[in-house]
Symmetry: none
Subunit: 141 residues, 2 copies
């Protein structure tokens, strides 16, 4: 799989974010462009296509001298308190949107939960559902 420039920049930024303490980085567009030997707008392109709100990122920037671009990985929109009531499938969908789970993985988990629950007494289903969501939440946060 040959990686496009955009892919490489994306990966680079994601590594930086994952290694950061607070899941946030601050870069200079021009500097990054020089690192990858490309035009600055290439960086803008990568950020606007791969670090969208939908995928769980929030960006801010400032122009002019000492300008910067800050990318923050936003925490999941569910509070920990709400966990019990969240529908598992919705949660999986969000994890997928954030590219924390592949489609295949999400499908596998769905299948697993549904089928595991299916063979158990009805009342326990909610418990398992909640426990599973909680486990997933902890795994990815």
């Amino acid at each position: 799989m040959k990686k496009s420039l955009a892919d490489r920049i994306e990966q680079y930024l994601k590594v930086l974010i994952s290694r950061s303490d607070d899941k946030a980085i601050e870069i200079q567009r021009i500097e990054l462009a020089e690192t990858f030997d490309c035009v600055p707008s290439q960086v803008t392109y990568v950020i606007s296509t791969r670090f969208t709100e939908k995928e769980g990122y929030i960006t801010e920037s400032r122009r002019g001298g000492c300008g910067y671009v800050r990318i923050r990985q936003s925490p999941p929109s569910f509070g920990e308190d709400d966990l019990e009531y969240i529908d598992l499938f919705a949660f999986l969908a969000e994890l997928k949107q954030r590219q924390l789970l592949s489609n295949r993985e999400a499908e596998l988990i769905k299948y697993l939960v549904v089928n595991t629950c299916a063979s158990l007494p009805g009342e326990d289903k909610r418990k398992i559902n909640a426990a599973m969501v909680k486990a997933l939440y902890n795994y990815f946060v």
Copy 2:
């Protein structure tokens, strides 16, 4: 019965898949078309007629620069033994060995099961464990 071009391309791809580590390949449609000296849509034709979901393949693709087509062979079936007694972790290890599960996926499932079970009364654990193994088994058949 002389082999058609489509047949030859099909065979070629299947050899590539069988030789691959993870039963998945990534090709470029144009490149393959050049190899076989045909139009690109011929490749699309082969993929859409011979690598369908029904035949056990899953495909993904991306257009544009550095585009690709990925073909994954979805898992074949296994021998039917008495499932209840297979330990889940061992079972996961076997799935991994057969390259039906990636490492990441296996770890995710372990985490999920352990943590889901953790919050439940001890007696249910075995039930869930067994149900989970059964579900996994069914998923991969």
